[in-house]
């Protein structure tokens, strides 16, 4: 699981949980989010990280739950979740879209 991005794939961000959550909350959040996603409910569709919002997928949810159930993995991601997703004040400036030739 080492090639997962510690920030954008951080399981705490994916499941919308605090780093000090109870293991049962992981199980519950996983089930609930999978449900929202499957029923096409908008509020389950994306999650926030300090690097912006990302699309939630069922694999991502399952992987996140598995990671948080593993104490070694959980501890690693806790270190990266010290910055809350709400601290996402870093805005990627939208590059101007030039086309080489004018469109008239």
């Amino acid at each position: 699981m080492s090639d997962r991005d510690a920030l954008t794939d951080n399981p705490f961000f994916v499941l919308g949980l605090d780093p000090d959550c109870h293991p049962m909350e992981v199980e519950r959040a996983g089930n609930t989010l999978a449900g929202l996603l499957e029923l096409g409910v908008k509020r389950g569709a994306s999650y926030t990280t300090p690097l912006g919002a990302f699309e939630r997928t069922s694999e991502g949810i399952r992987q996140a739950a598995a990671e948080l159930n593993d104490p070694n993995e959980r501890l690693f991601y806790e270190l990266w979740a010290t910055v809350a997703p709400s601290d996402a004040r870093i805005v990627r400036s939208a590059g101007p879209s030039t086309s080489w030739w004018s469109n008239g």
Binding site: E38, E59, N69
Partner: protein, 838 residues
Amino acid sequence: MTTTYIGFDLGTTNSAAASFDGDTVTVMRSSQGEALTPSIVRLSSSGGVLVGQRARRYLETDPANTHTGFKRLMGTGTSIAFPAAGVTRTPEELSAEVLRLLCDGVEQQCGFRPTRAIVTVPALFEIPQNAATVEAARLAGLEQVELLQEPVASALAAGWTATDARGSWLVYDMGGGTFDVSLLESRHGLLRVVGHDGDNFLGGRDIDRAIVDWVVERQAAAGGPTLDRSNPDHEPAFRCLSLAAEEAKIELSRSETAVIANAWPIDIDGESLEIELEFDRKTLDALTLPMVDRSMDVVTRLLHDSGLRAEQIGRVVLVGGPTLMPVLRKRLAERLGAPIDDSMDPMTMVARGAALYAATAGLAASGGDAPRRGSAPDSATGDTSVTNAGCHFFLHYPPVTADLTPHVVGRLVDSDVSTARPTEVRLVRTDGGTEGEYAPLDEEGAFVASVQLEPHKANTFRLEARDSRGDSLTCEPSRITLVHGVTIGDPPLSRTVGVALANGGVREYFARGTPLPSRRTFVHRTVSSVSPVAAVGSVSGSALRIPLVQGEYASADLCRLVGAIEVDAKDLSGPLPADSTVEVTLELDRGGHLSASAFVSALSQTFKSVAHLMVPAATPEVLRSHHAELAGRLVSLREEAFRTGRRDSLKGLSALQARLDTVARDVEAAKGGDVDAAQRSRRVLLEVDSSVGELEDEQRWPEIEDDAVWTAAWASSQVASHGSPAEQKLLEQAIRSLEAARQAKSVTRLKRQQAVVQRLGSAAAQRDDSTWEHYFHNAAAESNEASDLPRASKLVAEGHQALESRDHKRLRTVVRELWGLLPRASSEPRKTHGSSVR
């Protein structure tokens, strides 16, 4: 209406089925009345098929047309012959026959034929073997099947009934042909597979085999005919003896002595052989212990990898027939010290766990009476939608959960125009317990409601909705059931899957342990330019090849090739320059079923065909030469260890030698037609190869290091005498990098840096005339190896003249020309499985 979930344990020796209805797990009797169905299939001359117990008796009388143990050949592409009927069958087809019989049993007892089920596989089954199992299920008429690893199933079965299931426990599963061990952790009712390990080729049959070897030895000692495994004519005799050995072994689980006798006459090279040997528990124990110890090595490795000590194991669950042997239990207790849980039948535990898992996965056995799945067919949840009247909801909830206050998620599909739109929903216990809170529907008509479960039972709830005025509305579905119990996380992948690269390395896609299903995409780059029109002189065939491998080794040739994406030159829509990006996506489903695709962005083309999804064949010739090569390398390693006085490495070498000796026997058996032994030896040879490689690197290191240090010293002196200040600075940098590589003990890096240092040194040295004199002497000494000898000797003479007249300009030219005639070191070809990406 009750929902029924079915699980199948498709075993090497025996198979079983179980059902779960939300409350109770029941082991299904087969249509032949047995809980265990022998995994045996017979085809008669008329083409009639007999399976299970009915086929078993023909194992003795008609072994050529009665086969068992075919599970071990799944995914190998082997054909199994039935001479009487004059046909061959694949292992998948034979497994399908067994599954079909199990389905008959379910139909008789449950009143319906299952179309969806869980089928278990050994945890260490590889991708082609998993694919073959899915194919077997499909052939047996199952429409939807998910695979579950056997140890996960056993753990779930054991955990479901355990009252105090906290802490770590070990599932020791010794089947007929495979050995699996899993370490599990249970907390708050959540079961997690911490790790697993095993040996795909260790099981009860190896014990039978040891007994047979003992019989053969005794027989030969008594002056009887010599039985030879490598002789294909003796194969029926060995089959007969195997059966006798198995019977004696089972008998010795209960009594102290038994007799091994052949049930029918054995004909050896025209001579009839009658065997009747006294066999006692002590002898059996002595024969069994090496196998048990081999399994214990795997257990120790798993504990070590998971950072646990034996005393931290809370309990041990035993699964599989051989675990009934007293010697095995005794040895396990001695080595682990943990209590052995024998509250459950080790023979049916896997099937029970599979049925329980079917519920967790929401995989109801038939379409008619079960909650249907929602929009995502892969989801492991109970999704319910109904379309008849009132407010229709899509619901999503965990059918089985360890959570006492789980959420039920719902979304309004549509409501009857005549009724008002619901604004709130709640779930009320049907047994009169507490009423839940109303949960509001959001603008999308979705809600998340919390429910409270009674522990360890099935909990049924009624769905209630009301509109903005508070008026109750009828709901569909009207009720749902959630079972509180142990749940298990997604099954982890047992072996790392990746893509072989053009440098012989591997890009890991899914690490061992990745929860399944999973999907990953990585970007590779092509190493050569390819063109749809074959370029001048180019070979035809695949223009782009992306090999898919399975295994934990960093070197691709040690990993198993399990498939490849191959793109034919003619299918490319345009030329593809070197360095073009190729996005490769690999996808594994829950059962370890692999699919792959490659997107070539420069051409906007996607390629999907995966070739060779098969365990590679292991021919006796290839095995023998691989074995011989490894034996030779081991001899060199041992000599080197003695020479350098590195006694510490000798122990490791002996262990490898012992493994190689075992393989030698298997290679012989492979020659006699034992496909199973062939596969096993192939696997072990790869493992030994990897270990030998590591030891070689380790042994060569001091020499490599020494060499590098000398080069650095030499280059320093040359650059100090003849180099510019800028060169000196560069050399300092290069030596620093060399030093870093030495610290990191990286052979490739050290050699690369050494070449750099060497170049700087020789650039400086070449400004000195005496260097060229030195070069000349060396080149002259090797001139007998030149490609053009007359020319070389002429050059040598010229060189001597130049030396005498101190014509250094001429000498340089002579040396260069001489070099042109001398052989160049050729580089070793890389073993890359033909990869064309990096």
